[in-house]
């Protein structure tokens, strides 16, 4: 066994030293742009951009490090399908980074659909095959600004909805903190909203939006009131939801989810002209009255208008009344004690 292991390492080392040379040999064919075969009557490109491959995180590896069944070049048979977990597993010797992401992915809707034989993405569909780059790399397929396009390859209508939203407008303006698909749906553990662990479950929606919308610095930068989640949590909707009434409105019930728009936009469900319809989804008698007043009101804030004055009135009224009553009680007790002592 040990001998075998040494042998494997030796083989690996040899392959490493001659990597460039070997890859050059592969690119003789696969580096030609219109190189391909006809499979099931369709042309299938077998082109691999040498330039892009060499910019990827796997650039220092030989093609045959992954395509292990290719021993002779040119190879005569079609190489076997390869999988990322060939290297990215706990205890691998090539130093491939191991994270919990594949495990998280296994729980996701995508993995489950795939297991049922449906057309769903696995690693390579998002991360690409030959051009895997770090997510921070602007040329990465999973770079923040490219995510909507990436997910939109399958989720086409959702993509169009999202492209109308203020979140996408933010990204286009260069505000990279603005939300893309993965910020709400997560990256690998994408779960259906019915799952209580899902970031989209009614009980978790507030927390999902809260991640960014209670960030004081960020909200100041993008000009969105930061107290909104806080005010929501104080509202009857927020309290009901917190204690398990899932039919109570959460953020997405009024703001929509893919096409979130500010209230100034006439397309927005929270535009004053659309509020009656939006509130009317749950409150059948809602009419234009619902637009008369502020939303996400924190009574202690001066901007809350009349509610602030009601709050202030009661604050002082309660304080004065209670000080009065308390003083009366203390005087009564002191008087009682004094007289009792005198008697004794």
């Amino acid at each position: 066994m040990r001998r075998f292991l040494y042998f494997a390492i030796f083989l690996f080392a040899v392959s490493q030293t001659s990597a460039q040379l070997r890859n050059e040999r592969c690119f003789v064919c696969h580096g030609v742009k219109n190189f391909g075969i006809v499979e099931h009557g369709k042309f299938k490109s077998l082109y691999v951009s040498k330039e892009d491959f060499e910019a990827s995180v796997h650039s220092k590896f030989a093609c045959v490090s992954c395509h292990v069944d290719v021993r002779v070049i040119p190879h005569l048979t079609k190489p076997q399908r390869i999988h990322c977990l060939q290297c990215h597993f706990e205890g691998n010797v090539v130093g491939a980074p191991v994270t919990a992401k594949p495990e998280k992915y296994k729980e996701s809707v995508h993995a489950k659909a795939l297991a049922k034989g449906k057309n769903a993405p696995d690693c390579k569909d998002c991360h690409t095959v030959h051009y895997v780059r770090k997510p921070e790399d602007p040329n990465s397929s999973v770079y923040k600004t490219r995510i909507p396009e990436l997910c939109g390859r399958c989720h086409e209508t959702v993509k169009e909805e999202y492209y109308n939203s203020i979140h996408w407008a933010g990204i286009q303006k260069g505000e990279l903190s603005s939300a893309v698909c993965s910020d709400c749906h997560r990256e690998h553990d994408i779960l259906p909203p019915e799952d209580p662990r899902s970031s989209l479950n009614p009980k978790n929606v507030v927390g999902t939006c809260d991640k960014c919308h209670s960030d004081v610095k960020l909200m100041k930068r993008v000009g969105v009131p930061v107290q909104n989640p806080e005010a929501y949590k104080e509202s009857f909707h927020g309290i009901a939801l917190k204690f398990g009434v899932v039919r109570a409105a959460n953020c997405a019930s009024c703001h929509e989810y893919h096409s979130v728009l500010p209230s100034r936009d006439p397309r927005s469900p929270i535009h004053p002209a659309n509020l009656a319809k939006t509130c009317g989804k749950c409150h059948p008698r809602a009419n234009e009255n619902v637009a008369k007043g502020k939303f996400h009101v924190l009574p202690g804030e001066r901007e809350s208008g009349i509610v602030y004055y009601v709050y202030t009135f009661f604050k002082w009224f309660t304080l004065i009344v209670l000080i009065g009553l308390f003083t009366h009680i203390v005087l009564d007790l002191i008087g009682h004690i004094r007289r009792k002592r005198k008697k004794e």
């Binding site: 398990g244 009419n287 009349i306 009601v310 009661f314 007790l333 008087g335 007289r339």
Partner: protein
């Protein structure tokens, strides 16, 4: 106690032995009956005296009607406070625990509406009581604030501070009791109105602008806090923790108040009752 006739027989016999005489049978029988009659009258008189004494020691302060009104209000308010506070303090651990114990916020919501129903019911009941019953109208007049209440208040402050040894002489209701009574009016108006707006928000959404609901919610929450603190600190001090009544003043539940407390706490009312009683007796004597 012996039979009056036997007692009379014994007395006559003793006298006969003492004087060494024997009375005529007919006279003896007559005398015996006369003495027995007197003894009977005396026993009756004493019995009556004892009964009157018991009657005098207690006064009926609150009618059953008032007691039931207070009981309904008290249970309603306690229910409202218990189910309302966890909503106001929803971020605390005990609120979570409360909802868990009670069976969820949905159960608590229903209980809150039961309490609200009791509160609204008692407010209608009381309005009818003070408007349409003789007793209610009389009680309401007694509860109206007067100049004397302010003087009593001043006198009581001086008394509590030890500047004078004379307690203010209260009538049927002291200024403290009147304050409690009128405070409930203020609280009822705020709580019932704002509560109804919140309860039937789906109905009122068609009528009121949105900010009315914000005001209703804020007022409901703040006035609830004020009322709760006033009840727990002020009302419970006066009815439970005050050294004069500790641990508990049962009058509002039994309706009875002792003569001693009556003289001490409501001297003017006591005087009035006694005066009326005397006048009644004089009238019946004249007849």
């Amino acid at each position: 106690m012996m039979e009056p006739k036997k007692e009379a027989e014994k007395l006559i016999h003793e006298v006969e032995i003492e004087k060494g005489i024997t009375l005529d049978d007919e006279f003896r029988e007559r005398l015996k009956n006369e003495i027995a009659e007197k003894i009977k009258a005396e026993i009756e008189r004493r019995k009556k005296e004892v009964e009157e004494k018991v009657e005098e020691e207690y006064f009926v302060r609150f009618s059953l009607n008032i007691r039931l009104q207070h009981l309904t209000l008290a249970i309603g308010v306690l229910l409202l406070i218990i189910t309302g506070l966890p909503i106001k303090f929803h971020e605390s651990k005990w609120a979570e625990l409360f909802f868990e114990v009670i069976g969820g916020i949905q159960v608590s919501r229903i209980l809150h509406r039961v309490g609200a129903g009791m509160l609204i019911f008692v407010s209608i009941w009381h309005t009818i009581y003070i408007a349409f019953t003789k007793e209610g109208r009389k009680e309401f007049r007694e509860l109206l604030p007067r100049k004397k209440d302010f003087l009593d208040f001043w006198q009581n402050i001086k008394y509590m501070l030890g500047k004078t040894n004379e307690r203010p002489k209260y009538g049927r209701y002291s200024y403290i009791e009147k304050f409690d009574y009128w405070a409930v009016y203020w609280g009822m108006v705020i709580m019932v109105l704002s509560g109804l707006i919140l309860w039937f928000h789906n109905f009122f959404l068609g009528i009121f602008p949105k900010f009315v609901f914000d005001i209703a919610k804020e007022a409901h929450s703040d006035e609830a806090m004020l009322a709760t603190l006033a009840i727990v600190i002020w009302h419970w001090y006066n009815a439970h923790f005050n050294p004069h009544v500790f641990p508990f003043n049962p009058t509002i539940f039994t309706g009875k108040i002792s003569k001693e407390r009556m003289i001490k706490e409501h001297p003017l009312e006591y005087e009035k009752i006694m005066r009326e009683k005397l006048m009644k007796e004089e009238k019946s004597d004249e007849k």
